[in-house]
Symmetry: C2
Subunit: 203 residues, 2 copies
């Protein structure tokens, strides 16, 4: 099989991370989520802790850049704020792991960073509010109210980070190849659908 | 198999209509697209021509209602402008064909109208600008420039109609169960993926 790069964007609490892991297992290829931070730290010389603090998170000076219309480093801008140093390290890490061969990459604008790579399949995972709250309550041990707040905050953060670095709208169907709502058939069916889809013959 | 209602939202020129037809054929169930107009005419007593002129199209007085914040009839409003008469007839037609059993319904906010129906699978079909222009040029015999204009106009129209009648955003991944970009694997693979997905075991 030719090289395959499956990127997974996901609403917070939709099960996207678990799905990504299972897809990688099913296809026998590498999986990167938080693992990208270690790669980014190694490649850039920046500390893991520093990179984690900017992981898919816009910050105040990031928002300032947004307002001022400064161009994102992922898009070729030349700014070097701390956020952009972190974003650049993430970008290099995504490119570095893709160089090693087929993989699943969760988040980090990997769909955009690898946009010209043959074998790219861009997946987005979503779910209804109720099931997401339920998942976050059980996974993170928080109250339903705290889960709802976290979901709203995380989606906003991911959406802002994605839009800033890609000039595209996060969660817009047309920016992905396959979007699956896990409420309909569950997580395992989503895994199976993705595996079935990526193995399908190209047109 | 239990009853199955597959609704297909689609970007103009993405191949959604052809996919819907083939999915219905593959599953041996009814298919409704323009066919809904005949049902709506029969059920409502309104003329086919009248209904066609309002088919998924907002008009001036529709836009007026939008600006004035009048509630859509699909959402339970009580206005009875001509657009709303047409929308009500469409709604009744969607409910009437769903009463007859499993089917594929293209467009017309059917995903929203049937939102409480067990067995509903909401699909959205999209594609890149280049392939959509190519498809419209060949299908409608227009120039690439005319095709691009038509795509922009039709998507805007469908989006406005959908938002007004559902209070949801058209083309937003989270409003569907499965979204497929036909650029990735082509139309036949999209048909196969939908059939595979809807036949999948529920969680």
């Amino acid at each position: 099989m030719a090289e395959l790069y499956i990127t997974i964007g996901r609403q917070f609490g939709s099960g996207g991370r678990e799905i990504g892991h299972k897809v990688a297992e099913a296809l026998g290829i590498a999986y990167y989520d938080k693992e990208l931070l270690a790669v980014a730290a190694k490649e850039s010389g920046l500390s893991h802790q520093f990179l984690e603090s900017y992981d898919e998170k816009p910050t105040n000076s990031f928002l300032y850049s947004l307002v001022m219309g400064q161009q994102s480093l992922l898009m070729g801008g030349q700014e070097d704020s701390v956020e952009q140093m972190a974003a650049k390290a993430q970008r290099e890490a995504v490119l570095a792991v893709a160089e090693k061969g087929s993989c699943v990459i969760v988040g980090r604008c990997a769909d955009y960073i690898l946009r010209d790579k043959p074998g790219l399949v861009r997946v987005f995972i979503c779910a209804g509010q109720e099931s997401r709250i339920d998942r976050v309550v059980h996974r993170d041990g928080v109250t339903p109210k705290e889960a709802a707040d976290k979901i709203r905050r995380m989606d906003k953060t991911r959406g802002a980070y994605y839009s800033f670095h890609t000039d595209r709208k996060w969660s817009e169907a047309a920016n992905y190849d396959l979007c699956i709502n896990t409420d309909c058939k569950g997580l395992d069916a989503a895994v199976e659908t993705i595996v079935h889809f990526v193995k399908g013959q190209c047109k």
